[in-house]
Symmetry: C2
Subunit: 354 residues, 2 copies
């Protein structure tokens, strides 16, 4: 089963998630019919077509470590997507983002339910409560799916500590991201560290290690995966930063300039502030975190970033990190099929438009 | 190690939690020194002296199933407390509760940090984000602690599905509780179902099953534990309902009449509305969910509940459920030590003042 092609792996991940979510939805319906909107919302959200980067990197990490195609391993890798679903649901709530994957974010969806059903009390509180609980459910489900995966006891024992570290680093990185916004200063090194923790390690390096652990224990390969995954993870996050400011809402599924509105202290912003005039710095700092930012203001921030050369420099850093990652693939002496798959994923992670 | 006495079990649970939290705090400090307030807050919260009902019921469930005192099992049972910590942190945020265990709730604590540190942006948003992430961390840690426990592969395989069901039912119950407040109707049967899901099964029956699974597989004992745990869990929740209205803030660690302010549609409220005059019903409905409720209004609601006889009836239901649970213990033919421990726990769950 489950061959090497990225599309096939993605289809396998989707199949595993579809089956699992159908099972859990059935369980929720059995607990109480009033849980139908919960099952429906989380089901649509999981299946609405994420890129499945983390499960795919994990499965490729397993294959690259010499693992043979295996359905249980694919199932275990699919569990990473449910961690990500929790992170997205809670992140959108924390950031006050209205949409995700071209759907309303979960808190917005339940605010709308509150309105259409004519419920009492605060819409916002109801939406927030639902988003908190649905995120918790997705997080708990990630353990359940991983536990259901047919794995050898050894493989399970090897991958679980990585799974837990990954989640801890993710939550730590999210907190540091929120904190950076609250501290309200921009510093290139600090922004890169938060980007690395919040997304770099979590999105690529840790999934590779997780996959490798499902195959065997190989410290040398873990180092190669770090040399590949860390720079690629940073490039991935820098691309995200660029899309958060310059992305096309029709493609990203998020409003234009969302990162500015949310006051994110990204590397892109740090680079801009290093190079901008005092007046421009003041302008950027005033716009960052302004929830009622107009499209004209977004355009103005974009222009300052562009003019400062920070956009260009960010593209250069992405290209350099991509180059580092590509060299690591070469140094890894993977089979041509695996090397090609890694290269394709590296391209997708850094050249994407959503 | 770990003898039968409840105090010894509680001390063992505390020791396991202390060691685990110390390890995790160290890990957070290594990730980034800026995470110190996170490690400190979650550490104090976990160790601030919860009643440890769930771990104790689980460990007694294990002993009652014939298990011998075992440190790994005690560690596994301690993991249930971390699920509870997540539930409390997120619950306080959803309810807007300011205090818990005589400490500020987590979102309030981080709002205060935001103020004292002179951070930018919304205090409330910063506090809410921290509470979401710390709850997520506690939930993820519950899996990690359970995984670290030294258990046989068979014991692990038996207890994990119960662990996952317990968490799913908890989150489902929490949603149904929020929903009941939003629907804003009171109905005795419905309120009892939500109470059973949200707390009854989660607090007692499931921990007993979890503990039993750590010893062996015994469907007959599971039935006895259900006959003991379900009525006791309902009585536990009804006591909570009474404390949420009539409890002494100095003892409960929560403000007076907190449940009324939060608009909780408890069994107590359903019984009151069944019996109250139309004018009194209107008065209660107006007070439920009013965040700015005065102490005088709380007193007024208390007087209506008292006069209606609903407080008395709730006490009667608690006594009857306690009686059912006691009969189930007798029918279980446990050793005198185990039967005594179960009886003590049943008393603590239903006669408590905090």
């Amino acid at each position: 089963m489950a061959p090497l092609g990225i599309d096939e792996i993605r289809a396998g991940v989707d199949r595993n998630l579809t089956d699992f979510v159908a099972d859990r939805s059935k369980s929720l319906h059995e607990i109480d019919p009033h849980l139908a909107p919960v099952a429906e919302a989380i089901g649509e959200y999981v299946l609405a077509g994420g890129k499945r980067f983390r499960p795919i990197f994990a499965y490729l990490g397993y294959l690259g470590a010499g693992g043979l195609p295996n359905e249980g391993v694919l199932q275990a890798c699919s569990a990473l997507e449910l961690v990500h679903v929790c992170a997205l649901i809670h992140d959108d709530l924390m950031d006050g983002s209205d949409s995700r994957r071209n759907l309303p974010s979960i808190h917005k969806r339940f605010e709308a339910l509150h309105e259409s059903a004519g419920y009492q009390g605060s819409q916002a509180r109801f939406g927030a409560s639902a988003a908190i609980l649905l995120g918790d459910l997705a997080l708990s489900w990630s353990d359940q799916l991983l536990n259901q995966a047919e794995l050898s006891d050894q493989a399970r024992a090897r991958c679980l500590p990585i799974f837990y570290s990954m989640r801890e680093e993710l939550m730590a990185g999210q907190y540091l991201d929120v904190l950076a916004g609250a501290i309200g200063k921009s510093d290139r090194e600090r922004a890169l560290k938060v980007a690395t923790l919040k997304s770099g390690r979590y999105s690529i390096e840790r999934p590779l290690h997780f996959g490798a652990a499902l195959a065997n224990s190989n410290p040398e390969l873990d180092q190669i995966y770090s040399a590949f995954g860390l720079p690629l993870g940073q490039a991935f996050q820098l691309r995200d930063d660029l899309l958060g400011v310059f992305g096309d809402p029709a493609v990203t599924g998020k409003p234009a300039g969302d990162d500015i509105r949310e006051g994110k202290r990204t590397v892109l912003i740090a680079l801009t502030l290093e190079r901008a005039s005092t007046a421009e710095q003041a302008e950027i700092n005033a716009c960052l975190g302004d929830e009622h930012l107009s499209l004209a203001q977004v355009e103005r921030v974009r222009a300052i970033i562009e003019k400062s050369g920070a956009r260009h420099e960010t593209e250069e850093i992405i290209a350099a990190r991509f180059q580092d990652a590509s060299l690591a693939i070469e140094a890894g002496r993977f089979s041509p099929e695996i090397a090609t798959a890694f290269s394709k994923m590296a391209l997708m992670a850094t050249k994407r438009s959503s």
